[in-house]
Amino acid sequence: MTQEPHISAEFGLSLTRYQTSLYAYILSLVPDRNAAEDILQETNLTLWEKAQQFEAGSDFLAWATTIARYKALHARRDYARDRLQFSPAVTEQLADRMAERIAGVDTRRRALRDCLAKLPTDDQQMLAQRYHAEGSVQRLAAQTGRTASAVSQKLYRLRAILMECVRKTLAQDA
C-alpha cells in the first residue's frame, strides 16, 4: 500500500463536495475571482489542519463557512492591496444572509448545469470564453469584432436566461 490516510474519508468527501458552495460563499463576500480563489485555498488549508477536530455527522458546511468568513474578513494580503472591498458591516450582513442560502448552492449547481446544456453552442462558447479563465469583456469584444458594450449586453442576457431557467427548474423540483 502507498500511504496512510491522514484524515477521515467523510471529511475528505465533505471538503470535496462543498468546494463550489464554499467558493460561492467567499465570492459573495469578496467579489473578486482571484481573491476568492486565494481565500478558498486558505480556508481549505485551515480546514485540513483542523480536520481532526471535525466530528463525523456534524454540519461540515456550517463549520467550514465559519472559517471562510473569518478568512474573508481578515484577508488583507499583498494580492488585496488594490482590491476594492465591502465595509466590514456589509460583509457581516452578507455573510449572515448567505449562511441561509448556502445549503441550496449544490442544488442550483445541478440546475445550472442542465440549463447551460440547453443553450445554443455559440452561447455556451461565449460563456466559456468569458468564464473559464481571464477572458475579459474587452478581449471577447476584440475577438468577435463587437463592441465591449455589445458583449456586455449579450453576457447579461445570457446570465438572465440562465437565472430564469434555474429559477423555473428549482420551482418545478420543489
Binding site: 500511504q3 465570492l27 480563489e37 481549505n44 485540513w48 448552492v105 445550472l112 448545469r113 466559456a128 475579459s136
Partner: protein
C-alpha cells in the same frame, strides 16, 4: 437603508459591471451603500453572485476536464482550486495547495542548492514502491536536496520553480535545487511552465537537458545512455562542448561514449522496461487495489478466489450467464448465444480447479506438474481492468501486451463422464469489445439495439476432456481497457463442467516464456 435602494434598477448596472470586471471605485462605494441594511438588495446581489460563482466553477472544471483528456500526463491538475472527485485525490490537491500558499512570492526567486530547505514537493504517488531513497516518500512531503528511488509505480515531484516531473518506476531521480535535478536512471516526463524556463535535468556522462519552456520525456536506459524527446516547445540538450536544440517531435541521445547526436524518429521507444515481462493474472487475486504490480505478481496463493476488490479485477460473475452481464462501466455482454447458462458452482480460483478442494491445474492427463493459471467452473466470468493493471505497474499504455493462455477441460476435475465447456476471452476498449475469442478462435461480435454485445455465428463446439487444448493469443493495444475471460457450459452438471486457463497471463513487450509451474 438609503435613498438609492428604493430604486430597484440602481443595482442592475452595478451587478453588470461587477460581472464584467469593470466596477470602478465610486461604483463600488455605491454598491456597498446599496447593500447596507437592505435585505432585498442583498438577496438580489447574492443570487447574482451565486450564479457567478457557479459559472466560474462550471467552466473552469470543463477546461480542466478537456486538458486532462488531451494530455494524460502529468496526472495532477495544476490549476488552483480545482478538485478531484475523490477524497483521496482531494488530499493530494490539498497538499499541493497548502504548499503553494505557504510560499510567499519573495521566496520564489531564491534559487540555489540547499540541504535543509524544501525545494520540491512529492505531489502525487500512484502504486509507488520505494527503494533506498534519501528523501521522504510520503505523499505531500517537502523535498530538500536528495535522491528518490522509485522501484515500481509512479510518482510526481513538483519543483518550487513550477516544473513538474512525473517519474515512472523503476527510476532514480535526484533533486539538486529548485530548478535543477539529476536523472540517474529510468524515465521521467517533465512539464515546465513559462516561469520555470531554464529548468535543467542532468544525466550520466555529463549530459544535460535545459528546458526552454516546454514539455519533454527523458530516459536514462540500462546502458547509461540518455535519451530526450521534446513533446512541446523547445529544449537544449548538451554534453561537454556539444549542443543540440530540439523542437517538438525531435529527440537526441547522449551516448555513454561521450557523443551527443540527434536520434532518428522511432529509434528509441520512450518506455520503461518493466521489472517483469509476464503478469500471471491469477497472482493478482491475493492482492488488493493499491498494491503495486511488482509486489502482486510475486505473491501467489493457490486456490485464492478473485473478488471485485482484487487488484486489477473489475468484476467477477458466477452464474447467470444466460443473461447480459456488465464487464465494464458501459459494456454489457450476452454470452447466452454461445452456451452461457444460469447455474454456478463457486468462484474461479488461482492455480486450482476450484477455490475449494484440491484439484490442481494440469496441461493434460499425463502432465505431472501443477501449472499456473485460473480454474473456472462453468458460467463464471472475470473482467480484468487493464487501466488499473497498467497503473499498478507503472506501465505505459503504449507498451504492447498480449493475453495468452492454454484452455481446456481440466483433466483432474473429471467426475464420471467428464465435463464439457466453452472458453471465451474478450478484449474491450472503454466502449465495447475489440476482439472476441471462442475456444481460442477469433469470432465476430455484434452490438444489438439495446447496446448489449454478443458473439455472431453458430453455437460453438464444446470442449471435452478428450479435446486438444486450445491456445488463446489476443493482442492488447493502447486502448485496451478490459479483458474478459469466461467459462461456459453446465450441460453435464455444473460440478463436472470445469474449464481452466492454463498460464493465463499478460505478456509485455512480447517477451514470452514457456508455461511455468505453480509452485
Amino acid at each position: 437603508m438609503n435613498d438609492q435602494a428604493s430604486h430597484p434598477d440602481a443595482l442592475r448596472p452595478l451587478l453588470i459591471a461587477l460581472s464584467d470586471g469593470t466596477l470602478v471605485a465610486d461604483q463600488w462605494d455605491r454598491l456597498n451603500d446599496l447593500l447596507d441594511s437592505n435585505v432585498e438588495a442583498q438577496d438580489r446581489y447574492l443570487d447574482h453572485l451565486i450564479h457567478e460563482a457557479l459559472l466560474h466553477r462550471e467552466f473552469s472544471q470543463r477546461v480542466e476536464d478537456r486538458v486532462q483528456t488531451d494530455q494524460p500526463t502529468p496526472t495532477l491538475r495544476r490549476s488552483r482550486s480545482v478538485w478531484y472527485p475523490l477524497a483521496a485525490a482531494a488530499m493530494i490537491a490539498l497538499a499541493v495547495t497548502a504548499w503553494f500558499v505557504f510560499w510567499s512570492p519573495a521566496s520564489e526567486s531564491e534559487v540555489g542548492p540547499s540541504q535543509s530547505q524544501a525545494l520540491a514537493l512529492l505531489s502525487d504517488v500512484e502504486y509507488a514502491r520505494w527503494g533506498k531513497s534519501t528523501l521522504p516518500t510520503a505523499l505531500g512531503s517537502d523535498l530538500p536536496a536528495g535522491r528518490l528511488q522509485l522501484e515500481a509505480g509512479a510518482a510526481q515531484v513538483m519543483f518550487r520553480s513550477g516544473a513538474v516531473v512525473d517519474m515512472t518506476g523503476p527510476c532514480e531521480f535526484e533533486v539538486l535545487d529548485s530548478g535543477r535535478a539529476f536523472l540517474h536512471k529510468g524515465l521521467i516526463h517533465v512539464l515546465v511552465p513559462e516561469q520555470a524556463r531554464g529548468f535543467t535535468v542532468e544525466a550520466p556522462a555529463g549530459a544535460r537537458v535545459i528546458d526552454l519552456g516546454t514539455e519533454f520525456i527523458m530516459h536514462v536506459d540500462a546502458g547509461g545512455q540518455t535519451w530526450a524527446q521534446v513533446t512541446r516547445g523547445v529544449v537544449r540538450m548538451t554534453m561537454a562542448d556539444q549542443s543540440h536544440r530540439l523542437v517538438a517531435g525531435q529527440s537526441a541521445v547522449a551516448m555513454a561514449t561521450g557523443t551527443l547526436r540527434l536520434a532518428a524518429p522511432g529509434e528509441h521507444r520512450f518506455a520503461v522496461t518493466p521489472a517483469f515481462d509476464v503478469i500471471e493474472l491469477g497472482n493478482l487475486f491475493d492482492d488488493a487495489a493499491g498494491d503495486t504490480l511488482a509486489d502482486a505478481i510475486y505473491t501467489d496463493t493457490p486456490k485464492r478466489a478473485p473478488t471485485d476488490q482484487s487488484l486489477g479485477v473489475w468484476h467477477v460473475q458466477t452464474g447467470q450467464l444466460d443473461r447480459p452481464q456488465a464487464v465494464g462501466p458501459n459494456i454489457m455482454i450476452d454470452l447466452s448465444t454461445i452456451g452461457g447458462g444460469e447455474p454456478q458452482a463457486g468462484p474461479p480460483a488461482n492455480d486450482a480447479a476450484r477455490a475449494m478442494g484440491n484439484y490442481e491445474l494440469r496441461l493434460g492427463a499425463d502432465d505431472t506438474r501443477t501449472r499456473q493459471g485460473i480454474g473456472m467452473h462453468a458460467n463464471a466470468l472475470i473482467s480484468f481492468d487493464l487501466h488499473t493493471i497498467r497503473a499498478a505497474g507503472g506501465l505505459s499504455t503504449n507498451l504492447p501486451m498480449h493475453f495468452r493462455a492454454t484452455g481446456r477441460v481440466n483433466p483432474s476435475a473429471i467426475h464420471g463422464g467428464g465435463g464439457s465447456v466453452v472458453l471465451v476471452a474478450i478484449v474491450c476498449n472503454d466502449r465495447g469489445p475489440i476482439a472476441g475469442y471462442v475456444n481460442g478462435q477469433l469470432r465476430p461480435m455484434q452490438q444489438a439495439a439495446d447496446g448489449v454485445w454478443s458473439f455472431d455465428g453458430p453455437t460453438p463446439q464444446l470442449l471435452s476432456v478428450m479435446s486438444e487444448p486450445v491456445d488463446f493469443d489476443a493482442a492488447i493495444g493502447p486502448d485496451g481497457a478490459y479483458l474478459v475471460i469466461a467459462c461456459l457450459g453446465g450441460e453435464n452438471g455444473i460440478s463436472a463442467d470445469h474449464g481452466v486457463f492454463i498460464d493465463a497471463r499478460l505478456v509485455l513487450n512480447d517477451k514470452d516464456h514457456t508455461p511455468s509451474t505453480g509452485e
